[in-house]
């Protein structure tokens, strides 16, 4: 494979180009279409006879039949190394700020910029000595990158055990200068650099074992952490119709989640939303690290008007970067918004390939592609004993808001938690609009199981009564039923709903959630005596009012304690007894 392998374009249809070749080609290898000075990246997705069908990651306007295609022999890859934190890449890992510097307002096709700047110098400190044995994924040293010690690791693709032949002295290095030389079992010497490349569609597996996700990933959203928790290394999905608040929810989680690194894959969604993240994150301070949120964030951005094929690659680029940080023993959260756009990109390509369509014209392999993407999440134990995790949260945009459609259904099969957004909740301004009656999670909550069950039970009961009341009216509902209904409404209003515009209420830490949930549990479990429904309604309205103030009070502040006393006073007058012993 030394000579350049060249093909010729025979067919152009949308973003699919067919090329005839006469030397061997490889499935999924990257090829460049040569159009004058331009080189357009594409990927072989099907081979038939001597024709290679390629999806082009760029606009195909003006391309001609007969133009040359250069096959590279490499799979679509990303470069992994220090310098990714705080960066904004497109789906092919082009840094967008640098692209703007070079090309101005518009994204010019065929321009590919080094994802990690070549001239950037890093302060390297070695961690191994000559004679040590290492293997793929082991750190030979580290550089300081923003918040972390960024490990410089033995390339993940190297097989077997290596002996350290030499390691660079502490000092300043660029990504092109080797920082170590390793000897393989046969005695040849290989250099190790600060960065390495990895094909995006293959999971990084340079760890000892994959563990079961058990530890909760606290998002500081009460409804999620308490009722439908997410685990570190787990997966969850957020399907919802437009306008139900998927993106706002993902943005809140990206700010508050208890993760070391957050990778945001803005896949086929509005550019405006990404802009908001880009512009606000550098100014928002992470309370955990006291550094700007952008320091722990990597944004992969392929918005809806950018080329469709690159939309497909953007989720893989994102998950590969997430896996890379996991190899350093970090906890990474990947937020993909929206996986439906990724699925639609697959559908578009499948249509151009004239494959036999499955349901709603999605390709038959939709399910397996979705499953293998979510399977890249996980909690792992590394060779050095440390653990790292990748948690994946995917937004789903079901057509017509109907969860029966193929993407939602394929996703539900493989995720560990389901946060279903409902239009009726968002219309009623009950945010976050996660519907507690349809959502579920297989992970352990931070809340005691008995208390959590009671919370869900009261919500179900309250809903039953509310449905009944629609038919028989308030008059026809018995007082005990009515009280159950009020309890459910109360629980919903003061605990499940969270005000994203209130600086305190927008994020509730774990210990506060446990404390408040237990407090509410006793209220839900208490018996109350009321003369009539008006009195009951009035009491719960009053309780709700004070409780909202409590939610806005700083945790453990003077105001917090005072409000708690006020609530206890209110309850003391009314509650007869707790029904549990």
């Amino acid at each position: 494979m030394t000579a350049k392998r060249i093909g010729r374009i025979t067919k152009i249809s949308g973003n699919m180009v067919t090329a005839a070749f006469d030397s061997p080609v490889m499935q999924n290898e990257v090829a460049f279409i040569l159009h004058g000075e331009e080189r357009l990246k594409s990927e072989i997705i099907r081979v038939r006879g001597n024709l290679a069908e390629m999806q082009v990651y760029e606009d195909t306007g003006r391309l001609r039949v007969g133009e040359h295609v250069e096959f590279t022999g490499e799979l679509l890859s990303v470069e992994l190394g220090p310098g990714m934190l705080g960066q904004i890449f497109d789906g092919l890992q082009n840094p967008l700020p640098e692209l703007a510097e070079q090309c101005g307002f518009f994204l010019k096709r065929g321009i590919y910029i080094d994802p990690l700047p070549e001239s950037r110098e890093w302060q390297f400190s070695p961690l191994v000595q000559p004679g040590d044995t290492v293997r793929a994924g082991d750190a030979v040293g580290f550089v300081e990158e923003k918040l972390f010690r960024h490990s410089c690791m033995v390339p993940f693709s190297w097989e077997g055990v290596f002996k350290v032949d030499s390691v660079a002295n502490p000092g300043v290095y660029t990504k092109r200068q080797p920082v170590a030389h390793l000897m393989d079992e046969k005695g040849s010497i290989h250099p190790v650099f600060l960065s390495q490349t990895w094909p995006v569609k293959i999971p990084i597996r340079a760890y000892a074992e994959k563990l079961k996700p058990t530890e909760p990933l606290v998002t500081k959203m009460r409804l999620i952490d308490s009722l439908f928790p997410v685990a570190r290394g787990g997966t969850y999905c957020i399907p919802g119709p437009f306008g139900a608040g998927k993106t706002v929810l993902q943005q809140l989680i990206s700010r508050h989640a208890d993760a070391d690194v957050v990778v945001i894959a803005a896949c086929g969604e509005r550019a405006g939303e990404v802009v908001e993240t880009i512009k606000t994150f550098p100014t928002l301070i992470d309370p955990r690290t006291h550094r700007p949120l952008s320091d722990r964030t990597v944004i992969i951005c392929n918005t809806s008007s950018m080329p469709v094929a690159a939309r497909e690659s953007s989720v893989y680029t994102a998950v590969t970067i997430a896996e890379y940080y996991r190899q350093m023993g970090l906890h990474v959260l990947l937020l993909a918004d929206s996986t439906s756009r990724w699925a639609q990109a697959m559908r578009e390509m499948s249509g151009r390939l004239e494959e036999i369509p499955g349901e709603e014209a999605f390709p038959a392999y939709l399910e397996s592609h979705i499953a293998s993407f979510y399977e890249r999440a996980g909690l792992v134990r590394l060779h050095n004993g440390a653990t790292g995790s990748v948690t994946i949260g995917g937004a789903v945009s079901p057509a017509g808001g109907n969860f029966e459609e193929p993407v939602t259904q394929a996703t539900l099969k493989v995720v560990g938690a389901f946060h279903g957004l409902s239009r009726s909740r968002s219309d009623a301004r009950r945010y976050p609009a996660i519907d507690p009656l349809i959502s579920w999670s297989k992970y352990r909550s931070i809340i005691d199981e008995i208390q959590r069950m009671r919370g869900q039970e009261i919500l179900r009961k309250g809903n039953d009564v509310a449905q009944m009341m629609k038919v028989v009216g308030e008059e026809g509902t018995s007082l005990p039923d009515y009280i159950e209904y009020l309890k459910a409404e109360f629980f919903d209003f003061v605990y499940l709903q969270q005000n994203a515009f209130d600086p305190v209420d927008e994020a509730t830490p774990e210990d506060r959630q446990i404390y408040v949930f237990e407090f509410i549990y006793h209220i839900l479990d208490s018996n109350f005596t009321f003369k009539n429904k008006d009195e009951a309604l009035h009491f719960f309205q009053q309780l709700r009012q004070v409780f909202r103030g409590w939610n806005s009070a700083q945790w453990k502040s003077e105001e917090f304690r005072n409000t708690e006393e006020e609530i206890r006073g209110l309850l003391h007058e009314r509650a007869v007894s707790a029904s549990h012993a």
Binding site: T10, K11, I12, S13, G14, D59, T60, G61, R62, L63, R64, V65, G66, I88, L96, P97, L99, A100, C103, G104, F105, F106, L107, K108, R109, P241, F242, G243, G268, R270, A271, G272, V274, V275, E276, I278, K279, T280, C301, T303, S304, S305, M306, V308, Q344, R347, E348, G351, E354, P357, E360, A361, F362, S397, A399, G400, G401, N402, D427, G473
Partner: protein, 439 residues
């Protein structure tokens, strides 16, 4: 200079296939028929076979007709010479003015780099309280009006166009009735807005391929002005016709349909147009208002559904009013905090009370007894509908906020509104307050 080809091997729908060499994808061609010539665009290449969608339609094309390739993609002339002019979907004048060929730009250009966008922060005032007060329109927003046939969505668009404080108005009409076209032209002229307007008009009688070009051509011109620092408002009506034209072409091309016959890339096609809405860092802006008629008033139909996922909110126009529930401007929070300090209070309070009014209406319809509170709500709802919701109302934002306080004062006591004390002290109408104290 250009070579002619005359082997037309297939004519299906508005797509013809001709055998030719060295043709670029998406480039333009000219088809010479016995009845004149039409432009056509390359939409697929397969060996020597070139698939062309013919702008004027394929009717009357003979297999012996000649085709000439122009060697460039669809372009449109830009610049101040376009102001006040009316063109068809392929950029040909409809107003007896001269054909323009200066400052040509390609249509359907590349997307904007997201890092060169800024967070939108300027409100566009329309004089319509249901928009200004409750769902403010923001510069660079893309917003459709979801409606059904028969509703006055074109009247609404025209009104916003003539009242909005923007530099340039570009109207892209798709599949419009000729009457509607005349209506737009006359309205713009009457209000002296034609001189800052450019119209690209495709009527229902025109070939459907031209319909496909209208958004691209309108937005390419808009982009040119925005880069020159202008604030441009683009009106697209009716985007459902554009989607239907897409459907026709994709089925002609034997693409596999995904949902109700629409192509699988409907989302991407719509997004490529709507995402042209932009507020450029250090230049002007493009705001897009579109009409989308919902077939069968069904918001889950693929057209409104895909649109809703792309746009930054939507206005529902129902029974000739902008429906407060369901209508949403996702960007309103960026601007309504800096207008007048009571803006958000009025917005939230009036909508909450209006929601209660709707519940009361339901109760009334079911024959439940009306309490004193219900009576107040009924009075409030009626006033709200008459004085705020009606599309006949035309007052500036501040006037609308004052009117809001007046309506609240007429119907409720301050405590009943749940508005916080400081706001009441500052804005509650004095006459009504004394009434409630003495009464």
């Amino acid at each position: 200079m250009h070579k002619f080809y005359s082997r037309i091997t297939q004519i299906a729908g508005d797509v013809i296939t001709v055998e030719a060499d060295d043709v670029g994808n998406m480039e333009l061609a000219q088809v010479m028929t016995g009845r004149g010539s039409s432009l056509a665009q390359v939409i697929r290449l397969d060996g020597r076979k070139v698939f062309l969608q013919v702008f004027a339609g394929s009717r009357g094309i003979s297999t012996g007709d000649r085709v000439r390739f122009l060697g460039h993609p669809m372009r449109v002339s830009t610049g101040d010479a376009l102001l006040g002019r009316i063109f068809n979907g392929s950029g040909m004048p409809l107003d007896r003015g001269p054909e323009l060929s200066d400052d040509l730009v390609d249509i359907g250009g590349p997307p904007v780099n997201p890092v060169k966008r800024i967070v939108p922060n300027k409100m566009i005032r329309t004089g319509i309280p249901m928009i200004d007060v409750f769902n403010s329109l923001v510069e660079s927003q893309k917003l459709p009006i979801f409606s059904i046939a028969g509703e006055p969505y074109n009247e609404l668009l025209a009104r916003i166009a003539i009242q909005a404080e923007v530099d340039i108005i570009i109207l892209g009409g798709m599949g419009l009735k000729y009457d509607d076209f005349l209506f737009f032209r006359d309205t713009l002229e009457e209000h002296g807005a034609l001189s800052r307007s450019i119209v690209f008009m495709h009527t229902a009688a025109d070939p459907i391929v031209e319909c496909l070009l209208v958004p691209d051509i309108s937005l390419a011109v808009a982009e040119h002005f925005a880069l020159a620092g202008k604030r441009v408002l683009v009106l697209l009506t009716d985007m459902s016709n554009f989607c239907d034209a897409l459907k026709v072409i994709s089925i002609t091309m034997e693409q596999i349909p995904s949902n109700r016959g629409y192509p699988g890339d409907l989302y991407s096609q719509l997004a490529a147009r709507y995402e042209k809405a932009v507020d450029f860092d250090t230049a002007g802006s493009i705001t897009i208002l579109a009409a989308t008629t919902m077939p069968g008033d069904d918001v889950t139909h693929p057209i409104p559904d895909n649109t809703g996922y792309i746009t930054e909110g939507q206005f529902y126009l129902k029974n000739s009013v902008i429906e407060p529930f369901g209508s949403l401007s996702r960007l309103k929070q960026q601007v309504n905090g800096k207008t007048r300090d009571d803006h958000r209070t009025i917005m939230d309070t009036m909508i909450q009370l209006f929601a209660e009014y709707r519940e009361t209406l339901e109760k009334q319809a079911m024959g439940f007894q009306m309490s004193a509170w219900d009576q107040k709500l009924l009075k409030y709802g009626k006033l709200f509908e008459e004085k705020m919701m009606s599309l006949g109302v035309n007052i500036p934002l501040e006037g609308a906020l004052d009117l809001g306080w007046e309506i609240l004062g007429e119907c409720f006591s301050p405590e009943e509104t749940g508005i916080k004390r400081s706001m009441i002290d500052a804005y509650w109408p004095k006459t009504h307050e004394s009434e409630t104290i003495t009464g």
